[in-house]
Symmetry: C2
Amino acid sequence: MRPQNFETIGSRHLAHIPGEAPHDGESGGLLATAFAAMGVAMPFKADARIFGADEPADYVYMVVRGAVRVCELLEDGRRQINAFYLPGDLFGLEAGKCHQLNAEAVVSSRVRLVRRSVLEAAAACDCALAQALWTATAGSLRQAHHHIMLLGRKSATERVASFLLQMSMRTATDMIELPMSRQDIADYLGLTIETVSRALTRLRQNSAILIPSNRRIVLSNRAGLQRLDS
Amino acid sequence: MRPQNFETIGSRHLAHIPGEAPHDGESGGLLATAFAAMGVAMPFKADARIFGADEPADYVYMVVRGAVRVCELLEDGRRQINAFYLPGDLFGLEAGKCHQLNAEAVVSSRVRLVRRSVLEAAAACDCALAQALWTATAGSLRQAHHHIMLLGRKSATERVASFLLQMSMRTATDMIELPMSRQDIADYLGLTIETVSRALTRLRQNSAILIPSNRRIVLSNRAGLQRLDS
DNA sequence: CGTGATCTTGAGGGAATTCAATGTCGGTGG
DNA sequence: CCACCGACATTGAATTCCCTCAAGATCACG
């Protein structure tokens, strides 16, 4: 079982998520309010499934506390994590009747669910809400495009550096508390766990980061990391 | 200069784009109609820029004829193509005031532009249109997620096979007319031009495909390709 | 035909993976 | 409290796959 203190990562930043957050940009307040009004909060244990691919996409989700990963599996066991979601982030915004991906709690988490039909009905009346949903989805798309460049054209070290900077941005701290394991990071970056480990070691040796503990990383040379991030 | 006959690829499929098309799923008609009513069609020569990163995102675009690539460049020249758009596809749906990516015509193309402000105003009155825009963006997101799995967890041959199947689906033929060069394909798949070429050769040797000409590929063993596609 | 661009093929090298062993941390029971 | 245990992470050696560099082949077009 994972340490419980990771559950609260970023929750204190709910009110002022920086621009790099995947969703919930300028219209964050509106969506947060809508979810608070229409949604039901549910707890999920670490590694619990929130929804599975090919299940009916009846809900849209917002992370309240903890962290969520959205991933795809191939029959032979290969796994790709498409995104991590932190408090304040929306997910499950897929088009169509069914989810295309699996969503799981990374650590013990709290997630707010809103019925898609309810949300769409509300959006039909409230154009600002409709636009906020579009904007949130477009934000997810932007993240995905960033991810594509990462996977397509960057070296292992660049990927890890980019990941650390992104996490730092999203939690608005230089001292990152990682909710996810090395395996999760590897599956997000399209690498193996060993390669991630080696990249982190190299960054530590270059004094770009400190690793006070496995799940805690301090960005001690942000400029150096950004040089890698290109 | 590229052969001009590629301009018309897929245009005859405008009215019945299959489900795998990145945008414009069930609500295709509505968006096509809206674009026809509100938009202005513009011609672009092969390799002409349609919009650039950091330019104000004043328009939303729909391919009428030809093909468009959306890509990102790093300072050192690395290029990642995030998506190809074919007739009927929407692009430029980014959130925020500015585009994040570059869009260029792959071949001589015709693209319909609609002012974003006009579209948003129309969407504010017409909830079906608003939802169609959301759905189109979510469709783009779905494509991006597929792309992420491709780049993160698939071998070179699997990537090429997956690309061919995708193109075949989108143009609804077994005989693909590729509008893009090997370099474009490589930059889409996160590979080098040589690796793409070798993968195609291997697929041809395995009788999965025929290559009657450089820009023409016949899927002679779809099942074999799908096995690779996982 | 000749020319330049595009594509294919080959040989060699390098970055990441695989396989294997060691190290470290957190939780549990003696 | 400390030793043990399993899960997670790091490190090392060997392999593999893809990239780089280089040469040839093919295609489009004048």
